[in-house]
Amino acid sequence: MIGRLTRTVDRISTTTTTERPFLSVNDVSVQFPTEDGLVQAVDHVSFNLEKGKTLAIVGESGSGKSVTAQAIMGLIDRKTAKVSGEIWLNNVDLVSLTTAEMQALRGKEVAMIFQDPMSSLHPFYRVGDQIVEAMTAHRKVNPREAKREVVDMFKRVGIPAAERRVDAYPHQLSGGMRQRVMIAMALINSPELLIADEPTTALDVTVQAQILELIQDLQREFGTTVIMITHDLGIVADVADEVAVMYGARIVEMAPTETIFNEPEMPYTLGLLASIPRMDMEAGSRLQPIPGNPPSPIRLPKGCVFAPRCQYAAMTNGLSETVRPELLPAGPDHFVRCHLPAATRQKIASDVLDVLAAGQRQ
């Protein structure tokens, strides 16, 4: 009891002393001990996000982007993993909360949309009931009002024949409809922070655009802050205010969206940009993939984690083989983790962007 009281007092005092951003992720690490060794899934990740903005976290599979999101949701099982650092949401440190306290926040202040709507809904319960369950977990509502609220939310997320659809089972709905149901479920308690973990990856291309547009509309309507996790830079350009590029459990470049697309500096970001197919590309011209594979999270390279796949690694005088680079400021709101001198990086980047632009013009 006393412990809880002092913690509350702590929280109040921090509110009054420092003005934190709405979401402040500070030095967060997630480690999974396994039989093969310690897996460092997230390594000292820090970022801030202002209310109402959208942050895109971009990276390959295994880069730690989903685990970062799950750490914010408190979905990482503390019995099998170690989470350190601080995650301040509205001046409450989520990492220090007890299981019960986090449960009270989860689904209410922070909600999440998952990648695969086919498997993310329980196959045995009506979709309406599953959403009502999310409501009653956090507030008292009588059944009839709850159902009306779900129908309203269904209409808002663009589900036709909402009155009928609330009684449907997931298998009776299409993938796009199911993802709309997931969005309705995430928004039913008006969360302040919405995490969307590759929300369109499992959907048809035609539906993808609709779902993204829906998330943006709802974000404007509810003033929700959004973290969009994706590996699709096309989505990033559409929706994000800010971008964090992750590689090998770390953020390697972070900047406002325009900066990332127009003045990228980290070679990995350049590689991602060069590997997007474009409509205006000449037919038959080849995409430029990044050579090699992401590093094993158990045996990370000693120096720069990206060095083994980086074609400019030789230009660091061997630094990239031995020393881990820091995430350092490279301009206003722009952070880069790279050993290359700033001038060299900018030169390389403008050359690559020129080639890409030339490819478009042809």
């Binding site: 979905l75 449960q103 998952f114 993310s120 329980h122 045995f124 999310a134």
Partner: protein, 330 residues
Amino acid sequence: MYSYVTRRILGMILLLFLLTLATFFLFNMLPFDPARLTCGKICTPALLAANRTRLGLDLPPIQQYLNYVGGILFGRTFESTGPAPIVCPAPCLGYSYLRHDQVLDMIAKAFPVTFWLAIGGFIVWMFTGLVAGIYAALNRGKWQDRTILGAALIGYSLPSFFIGLVLIFVVILEWRLLPFPQWVPPTTDPVKFLQTMILPWIVIAVLNAAFYVRLTRNQVLETLSEDYVRTARAKGLRERVVVVKHALRAGLTPIVTAAGLDLAYLLGGAIITESIFSLPGLGVLTVRSVIESDLPVITGITLVSAAFIIFANLIVDLLYAVVDPRVRVG
């Protein structure tokens, strides 16, 4: 849905019919001579022939089978050595000349014993199996999990006659906690009924619980890693709701299947448990009839227990639709 049920019931009737055919010819091919068994110690060839005619054994096998099925559908009469023939009303499963009793009556008398044994054991084993299985799954890899799995393995490997005899020896003879088992219907003397049944229930439960612990543990472990369980957690539901309402419910289908068939199997008689605790159920009746080569009774019990299994299959399939909405037809 209704047409599905009708179709299933028609199929069930057809299967039962084939079953009578199989059991009847299977047992009639055995090297028994029922006429000889009813003949007594001083048996002359003339008496044997007379018995054979009286039992209808001189008729061709097809005719005998038709008489048997006819008896089930419409009832039949058996000739007797007494003045009046023995009337066996439908559904007539035959007449035991050895025991001088209708087969159906003998089964009906033994069935309640087996029924109570099976139901009680079923409740005990399902409860322990589910609870211990969930608990083990939630503590996967820890000492609780290993203890439960180890206990299940021991329970699985111990023969039921061994558990039964040890229980009788320790609980009844050494500790004198319970009187010696003696069957009474629960309606006559509920206390004595419970005192008699508690040990047999445990014996039945040990073997089955061991199986259900492992089944439940594996099912829950599998469903706990499903995406929809993560969704349930993301909603902020309490862990107990996540485990029971979301994970366990989804893993219930194979458990329901196994449970339905196991219960039906048990309703056909638990030979060893009934024998150890001298419960006059179908299992004991089966053993006695086999020893005495009482063919009509063996045939009757086989038919009835097979019917239980067929019926349980239907119930289990219908329960699927209750458990899993994706199975619902029409």
